[in-house]
């Protein structure tokens, strides 16, 4: 072991107290790369986005299809977007809680002590999880196609819907990342998030037409942001169309990220 190369003294270095946008993006991409390596080493991390779409699509379609739409085939245009939204929302919860588990390890202390963009460890981890949403979306569509679904919006409609879902899920995951950072433990976040999300996803237009619901519930299901997401996806998948619900969803996603990304980074920096 030879002597290490001579160190440049602290006072002779050129230093900036600011990190450029370019460095921020580079740092985030490097962190996303780290997330992908971890996923490859730990494929069980992907179980939920592999099995939930398969299980839910088969289960709900055959269970409700006859009762709600008369037969399975005519239920598919209604249920597939519903399951897509439900799957992607639960997947984003898991993303947030997994981030928290990651943060409890010593490596995040090192990230904090390095001259990198503060947002990069968080943004990068959430970016890597885009792969989870891609898997969930693809598998749900494939299951639908196998069961006889013919998307009226064609390939463009399906791709557009997928892009909307994935982008929405990424923005949404910042909410759970925030709760992940401030909560005492990762499992408590998952528990509470599920209690909130279960009614949000079911009390929507995901599985049944809202007209059949009693007045108060109908009101809630119509207001529910998840319903807007589902309607936007149905428009795209079944008709290749973009209506008001699409823009509402996009606006909602932007509002979420504008509020929760800075909050999350700030909370993350405060944790010792």
């Amino acid at each position: 072991m030879e002597a290490v190369t001579t160190i440049v003294p602290g006072e002779q270095r050129e230093l900036k107290n600011h990190i450029s946008l370019k460095r921020t993006i580079q740092n985030s991409i490097t962190m996303a790369g780290r997330g992908l390596i971890k996923m490859r080493r730990n494929p069980e991390q992907l179980f939920d986005v592999v099995f939930q779409p398969i299980l839910f699509t088969v289960m709900f379609t055959y269970l409700f299809g006859g009762a709600i739409a008369g037969n399975v085939t005519s239920y598919l245009p209604l249920i597939i977007p519903g399951i897509l939204a439900q799957t992607i929302v639960t997947a984003s919860v898991v993303t947030g809680t997994q981030l928290r588990e990651d943060m409890d390890k010593g490596i995040f202390d090192r990230f904090k002590s390095m001259p990198i963009a503060r947002i990069a460890p968080l943004a990068g981890a959430l970016m890597a999880d885009v792969i989870r949403y891609v898997i969930a979306t693809t598998l749900t569509f494939i299951m639908g196609l196998i069961m006889g679904f013919h998307p009226g919006g064609g390939i463009l409609g399906v791709l557009g819907a997928s892009a909307l879902l994935i982008a929405f899920a990424w923005c949404l995951s910042w909410i759970f990342a925030f709760f992940g950072v401030i909560a005492r433990s990762a499992s408590s976040v998952q528990g509470i998030s599920m209690i909130v999300l279960f009614p949000l996803t079911f009390l929507s237009n995901a599985f049944v037409p809202v007209d059949t619901l009693p007045g108060w519930l109908k009101w809630f299901a119509t207001m529910n942001p998840i319903s807007h997401l589902i309607t936007a996806i149905r428009d795209l998948v079944n008709h290749g169309a973009i209506h008001g619900d699409f823009w509402l969803t996009v606006l909602g996603a932007i509002v979420i990220i504008a509020i929760f990304a800075p909050l999350t980074v700030r909370a993350y920096m405060r944790r010792a």
Binding site: A3, V4, T5, G10, E11, R13, K16, K38, R110, I116
Partner: protein, 321 residues
């Protein structure tokens, strides 16, 4: 300003409060460039909290800290470019291999893919980890992890390195390797701030030591200055025959010029100020025909250091964190 620049670390009245516990209660430190500075103290004395504040991981509640003249609160990104931190718990990624860890850190620091790989290989070689480079870290021993952790801190060749209890939990052989590595680092021009619970470690490595207790600096100086302030080592002589005790004591007192004690029937203890005089003493005892069963030297322990410096028993500090 020019005066401050020659200091690697300048800390004035640094404070950190957790609830009603003053973890760091007004610490002052001045660490000149190019030396190993030891921060010695028991668990819960505030060592890690202090390092975390200096490394910009934790905001101070009072006082100021400057790294090469840059304030840790006002210029955190500059400070981060000047430091490397190796914590008590290895801050590397378990799921990744050694080389993947180092390449990611290199990339984060702005190296190209190629440069990051080259740097990683260079460091793995230097720390004797080349053979384990592709193994997942879960198969690494504690010593290998610490070495990798230290290697990760050196990618940017920072002029100041924080080592938080770098050898806690390591076996003696690995600990000696770590000591060699630390000595080599300082030769290359780095400044090192090292925390430890072990007096011996501070003694072996540090050019200057600050002893901290309950979030305050209770003593500061070179290892020799501190030892002198604490008291010298004790010479213990086990005499074969009780009949010779009185004679032996008078010889010891005459040769060493100190007072002796006789705590057990055949045991004589004496403070040992100058180890050279011990040879004379042994010769004198041999001439007088006094047989010895055992000769040993008792160094001051950390407990004694704290007893001497704080006037309290170490056990009284239990339950603090």
């Amino acid at each position: 300003m020019t005066k401050n620049k020659s200091l690697a670390i300048e800390v004035k009245g640094l404070q950190k409060v957790f609830g009603d516990n003053k973890a760091v209660d007004g610490i002052d430190l001045e660490v000149p460039s190019g030396m190993i500075y030891g921060v010695l103290g028991p668990n819960g004395a505030g060592k890690t909290t202090t390092i975390n504040m200096l490394a910009t991981l934790l905001g101070p509640d009072g006082g100021t800290a400057k790294i090469f003249g840059h304030d840790v609160v006002k210029e955190p990104q500059i400070v981060r470019q000047l430091i490397g931190v190796t914590g008590q718990y290895a801050s590397v990624d378990d799921k990744l291999s050694a080389i993947e860890n180092l390449v990611i850190f290199g990339r984060l620091l702005g190296l190209s893919r190629k440069e990051a790989k080259a740097k990683a290989n260079e460091l793995l070689e230097e720390f004797g980890l080349t053979e384990a480079a592709k193994r997942p870290l879960s198969k690494f021993s504690g010593g290998m992890r610490r070495r990798l952790d230290l290697a990760a801190s050196l990618i940017a060749q920072p002029p100041l390195i924080f080592l938080d209890e770098p050898t806690t939990g390591l076996d003696p052989r690995t600990r000696n390797q770590m000591w060699d590595t630390i000595r080599r680092l300082v030769k290359s021009g780095s400044t090192i701030l090292l925390t430890t619970q072990y007096l011996e470690e501070a003694d072996q490595l540090a050019d200057r030591i600050a002893v901290i207790d309950k979030g305050r600096v209770v003593a500061e100086g070179t290892p020799n200055e501190l030892k002198r302030s604490i008291g010298a080592a004790t010479l213990q002589l086990q005499i074969s025959s009780e009949a010779h005790i009185a004679e032996a004591r008078s010889i010891i007192e005459k040769v060493l010029g100190v007072k002796t004690q006789n705590p057990e029937p055949k045991l004589i203890t004496a403070p040992m100020k100058d180890p050279d005089t011990v040879t004379d003493l042994l010769v004198a005892l041999k001439k007088a025909g006094i047989k010895l069963d055992e000769v040993s030297v008792q160094k001051p322990s950390l407990d004694e250091v704290f007893f001497a410096l704080t006037g309290k028993e170490k056990t009284a500090k239990k339950g603090e964190k």
